[in-house]
Amino acid sequence: MSDFAQHLINGIASGTIYALVALGYTMVYGVLKLINFAHGDVMMVGCYMGYAVAQSLGGDDASSFLGVLLVFSVAMAGCGLVGFLVERFGYRPLREKPRLTALITSIGISFTLSYGFQLDMGFLPGAAPRAFPEIIRPHELFVVGDYDIVIWNWQVISFAIAIVMMLGLQFLVYRTRFGRAMRAVSFDPKTAGLMGIATDRVISGTFILGSSLAACAGLLYAIKDTAVQPMMGLYVGLKAFVAAVIGGIGHVPGAVVGGLLLGLIEEFVVGYTASTWRDAVAFGFLIVVLLGRPEGLFGKAVAEKV
């Protein structure tokens, strides 16, 4: 029983991270109908920015509230910039072209980033994982019994950050002018443009927003894993994509539920079998979902318009 509870806690902790990344996929898919393959790798770039800031603050000594705030805000701003550049120079020139060209471009960007960062020349970090400074010094917050169930402080902090981010996003999308514009573009970009919405600006804004959320999630992941490495974007990104599909891609609350669900499933499968299977679980689950309910838990099956 205590095993079960511990897995539940760990699953929720990693699930919230997937959920944050999945939000980026879902938002971009909503406005562009594009699966942004490079999303996870943009997140990885953000993590390295956070890593650089944390190192220059003195590595493990950066464990103050202000230090954490600085690391997160620099990484989120920098990542937003990367997302903006990717959209501006990678996807915007192709918007009128067949959808496949944008998809291939995003795959190209993804691989350039994840393998480019594995080189060890110039400022590039090289393939070896770097230990992420303990900017949130880990200690057990709750211990039940004789270390039967442990809740770490970073689990609680990352859960809180994730919840705040999600609520903020929910507010932004449903309660502000920008959010309304975003939903309009998502519904019908051409008509939205005719109604006076600056479509390009909204799309740029969506990318910046999604990438910043990804940077935040990436840092939480780095704190959990205590490491950053160039391939993390590919794996976390793919799993987050699976989460977005489970929830119904394009559906904001669906991405959150999908992320939590995936985190839990992964944790339980790994917990009761072997950890080497971790990377295979998500994809197996994806195939099952696509077989049974391809539009996701909350998505509506939409017939393609001619």
Binding site: L94, V242, L290
Partner: protein, 339 residues
């Protein structure tokens, strides 16, 4: 016409003797054979992936996964039967028969996996296939790394080396032939219709899911064959031969050659196989430093990725677009009006 029957096997009858002579003439040039075999395997992979990505307009990026299935299946099969000699057959012939069976077995198993992966994802829009095939490639790699019987990360050793130049290039030639004949069949017309406009194709009564899945299965079969051949001329196969990097290499080949152009795929497959080898030889000939060679290898993936982006932005149709090599000479097209 009474000569109609010869048209089917004619290309094979022409190519078979040429390849046999070539194989016989180069028996004492191991490096040439190795290079030519690798090139042939890449040609098979590129042409078969082109059936899905180019002709049908879907996007699979897990081709190496199917190659791995074929390689391990055929390799395991051959290794298990290494000492077996079929009765009434001399040793050489028996070996080749078992080799042929192994290759077909590898292809069939890959095709089965293609069916299992394709059926759920091809019912949906193209981008799902990209993710699912990528995921499939990863699952296969994780599976191979965790399975004791398949050697885990060390890989499968001791597979009898039964491949030859003739076998590899005959398979490559058959793949090209099948791809070309699919395009000009009524089946291929449906695939092209799906590529051009899936909704319209469906409205015209094309069973889009069925055609897509069949194209995917054919493509996976040949990827498996390529893997099976590969397993029979490299000393050892391990999971690291079948990663993302391999899949991306094939994708870059067909995108650069022009999605939908079989000859373009062949040409870029040959160029992109030989070019890195040449580069490595040139760059490392002065200093025998393995460091430099390693660096060249490291640079491959970022260059592939950047090439994809540059191609999409500057020349999305690739080298040939959907045209074939012979379309470059407009005079050679009177066949279009042939009955």
């Amino acid at each position: 016409m009474s000569r109609e029957w010869i048209k089917g096997p004619l290309p094979v009858l022409v190519v078979l003797p040429i390849l046999s002579v070539l194989t016989y003439a180069t028996t004492d040039m191991p490096f040439f054979i190795y290079l030519a075999s690798i090139t042939g395997v890449n040609v098979i992979l590129a042409v078969s992936l082109n059936i899905v990505n180019g002709i049908t307009g879907q996007f699979s990026i897990g081709h190496a996964g199917f190659m791995a299935v074929g390689a391990y299946a055929a390799g395991y099969f051959s290794r298990a039967l290494a000492g077996v000699q079929l009765v009434f057959l001399p040793e050489v012939v028996s070996d080749q028969v078992i080799f042929l069976v192994a290759v077909v077995f590898g292809g069939m198993l890959a095709a089965l996996f293609g069916f299992l992966v394709g059926l759920p994802s091809l019912r949906l829009r193209g981008d799902y296939l990209a993710i699912v095939t990528l995921g499939f490639g990863e699952i296969i790699r994780v599976f191979l790394q965790n399975t004791e019987a398949l050697g885990r990360a060390l890989g499968l050793r001791g597979i009898p080396q039964r491949s030859s130049l003739l076998a590899v290039w005959m398979a490559a030639f058959l793949t090209i032939l099948v791809a070309r004949r699919i395009v000009s069949s009524s089946h291929g017309r449906s695939l092209l219709a799906i590529r051009e406009d899936e909704v319209a194709a469906e409205a015209m009564g094309v069973d889009t899911t069925g055609y897509k899945v069949r194209a995917f299965v054919v493509s996976s079969f040949f990827a498996g064959v390529a893997g099976a051949l590969f397993a029979h001329f490299v000393p050892i196969i391990n999971p690291s031969s079948f990663t993302f990097v391999k899949s991306m290499e094939i994708v870059v080949m067909i995108v650069a050659g022009g999605l939908g152009s079989t000859t373009g795929a062949v040409l870029t497959a040959i160029i992109l196989t030989l070019l890195p080898e040449q580069l490595r030889t040139v760059l490392t000939s002065g200093a025998e430093g393995t460091d430099l060679a390693q660096r060249v290898d490291q640079l491959r993936m970022p260059i592939y990725g950047a090439t994809l982006v540059a191609l999409m932005l500057l020349r999305p149709q690739g080298l040939f677009g959907t045209r074939e090599l012979w379309d470059l000479w407009p005079r050679s097209q009177p066949k279009a009006s042939d009955p």
